[in-house]
Amino acid sequence: MNSENIIISAFGFADATNYGGSLLGGAIKPLPPDPFNGLRWETFSERSYKRYGRLDILTSYAMVAVELLGLPAFEPAQSDMALVMGTGKGCLAVDLDFRDSMDQEGGGSPLLFMYTLHNACMGEIAIRYNITGPNLCLMAGEESGLSAIWEGLRLIRCGEAASCICLAADAVGDRTGMHKNAAPADYADSRGSAHCVLIESAKHAARRGAKPLAGIRESKGDTCNATQELSCETQLSNLQQFLSGKQEYNSRDSRIELRLNLYHRSDLLYIDRC
């Protein structure tokens, strides 16, 4: 394991109300009314993407967030860039749709089935940006997003990647609204969201002339303190606000603390503004 300084060099996100990221110069903008219909590609990017209309809702959110990182379609392929996605429920909406299609004449829909595989989302991202490095889809409940960042750190520190897109995406879809009572509060009122950051070693960022937005420090194995728990969604939302330079959050502080609670242990990420 190397101990190089790891930095965040880009971010992107879209949720039920806002979107923003490095592609927009770090700006955060309100999403047009009606998030589902408002999730049109043209809202987010001037760069064409013909496959967008074929994607399921999870992949749509994820693709928008990654597009807002501002990465080009790489040529040659990025074999040293990793892609890690954390998702709590994956593509639950498309799971339900596929299950319904099973009872129709001719059997299940092949297009729907493809997107019931959680990692299909990463395959689409890999194709669009030509990323051929390590790719992992993790599921860690509400801690999935932060787990993705942690796995990205491991991949870089172990020398398996030079940079990593760490993505958190969930999209339950409107069909699951009927089960609101059983749903975690974070999911009940939103059809989906995706947040991502590009992390890399400071040395790697300097070599390619990328400007660091923030530095990452980590602390592992603290005892879990349930009173300080914030859901992963909220933490990532705070992180995006922090990276965008918005002053509403932590105005006097130059650091944000993200807490990963996996079982009885609480690991901490400290993100320092550069």
């Binding site: 501002g70 990025q78 709590g88 299950r99 299940g108 051929t132 242990r265």
Partner: protein
């Protein structure tokens, strides 16, 4: 308005860190359940006897096909045995499989567990979709779909096994098992866990059968990997688990070492493998580099070998391009057990350890006439490999993913 980042510097690729043999992650105990029975020795003996676990299964019928598919179902006798081994068995079959292999693996690894705080033991559970038995029950609206996800399933299994460290679910299509094992190895390397149970679990459901039939991936009979007449895969149920420990923690001799691994994406197509297998080639080369080995050091390849026309051809090309005309003995285990999907990586890694320790490979069942474009050394009968020291296992999946792992003899 758009401020694109400059193209990332692709010429400064960090070299994979080479893992010295004495620092390799150890596999200290393992167990599995599959269509050929319960336990490593039972399944291994059955493979050597040439038994096939694939049978026509009446309920494996989809809306557009009236004949039953062949599948590798867990025999009723095994379910009955599980009921005597684990508490609360019979309520959920995916959970029964997971708890049974986990319990047995931890029991076998007790020398490593002695004195270890449960918070230092992690669980990484791989599956394509998690507990789909639970999801299918949701048709009656009970229970809710919120509880079927892979992480909830993994947490439930961890609690049943008394594991208190990091718990993660991994869902990377058919490569999930090897990806989970490599993630488990990184958790140990990074000091976040002292021991990690890497587990793969898959129980056949109508959801998965309908899914693979919808893309016309299923064979009309038992699958025939690398054969000229192959026409698709057979799906199987199964579970496997391996307990991993760092090289510094060696109260007893380990079963095998994990010397290197890699994961790549083809970035070409969502369901079709890349022509020529460039992504798989890259993964093999990177795993060998991590292990500090040359292609000639590999004595056996545990191929993905699903029996689909395109997968097997792609694999043959990739192996030929990396290993040349001296490609090692290569076998697929799918002809015995079927494709156990998200569990395949772990189950087949376990059986690769059996190959390594016995210096013997079972025949690659289902092969009559080689039907790929490159020469391969596929055993049609059980074959001794006396000088075997390293095995390479590869798994390929939808989403363009390729995962490779190099396993070696334990360091004494």
């Amino acid at each position: 308005m758009h401020s694109e980042l400059p193209i990332a510097d692709n010429h400064t690729k960090e070299r994979h860190q080479v893992i010295l043999p004495e620092k390799a992650i150890n596999i200290v105990s393992m167990d599995l359940i599959a269509s050929l029975g319960l336990g490593c020795e039972t399944v291994w003996s059955s493979l050597l006897e040439g038994n096939c676990g694939l049978k026509p299964i009446p309920w494996m019928q989809t809306n557009d096909k009236q004949d039953a598919f062949y599948g590798g179902e867990i025999p009723q006798s095994v379910w009955e045995e599980l009921a005597t081994l684990i508490p609360e068995a019979g309520k959920n079959r995916s959970r029964d499989l997971a708890v049974a292999v986990g319990q047995s693996t931890l029991k076998q690894g007790r020398a490593w567990l002695d004195g270890t705080d449960p918070r230092e033991i992690g669980l990484v559970l791989s599956s394509i979709k998690g507990d789909m038995n639970h999801f299918e029950d949701f048709r009656q609206d009970v229970p809710s779909p919120w509880h079927y996800d892979l992480f909830g399933f993994a947490n439930d299994v961890a609690k049943s096994l008394g594991i208190g460290g990091p718990v993660l679910g991994v869902s990377n299509a058919c490569a999930s098992g090897l990806v989970a094992m490599s993630l488990a190895a990184r958790l140990i390397q990074s000091g976040e866990a002292r021991l990690v149970l890497a587990m793969g679990v898959e129980n056949l459901t109508r959801f998965m059968i309908e899914g693979f039939q919808s893309i016309r991936s299923l064979s009309t009979g038992p699958c025939r990997p690398f054969d000229k007449t192959r026409d698709g895969m057979s799906i199987g149920s199964g579970a496997g688990s391996v307990l991993l420990a760092s090289a510094d923690h060696r109260p007893e001799s380990a079963l095998a070492t994990i010397n290197g691994w890699s994961c790549t994406n083809d970035a070409t197509h969502i369901t079709a493998p890349a022509k020529g297998g460039a992504g798989l080639q890259a993964a093999i080369r990177q795993a060998l580099a991590m292990a500090g080995l040359q292609p000639s050091d590999i004595g056996y390849i545990n191929a993905h070998g699903t029996g689909t026309v395109f997968n097997d051809e792609m694999e043959a090309q990739a192996y030929y391009k990396v290993f040349g005309p001296n490609v090692p003995i290569t076998a697929s285990l799918k002809g015995y057990l079927g494709h156990t999907l998200g569990a395949a990586g772990v189950i087949e890694a376990i059986l690769s350890v059996m190959v390594l320790n016995n210096k013997l490979t079972p025949a690659s069942l289902g092969l009559s006439e080689l039907g790929v474009g490159q020469p391969m050394r596929i055993p049609t009968e059980n074959t001794a490999i006396p000088d075997l020291r390293y095995v390479l296992s590869s798994k390929v999946g939808f989403g363009g993913i390729n995962a490779v792992m190099v396993l070696g003899e334990p360091v004494s």
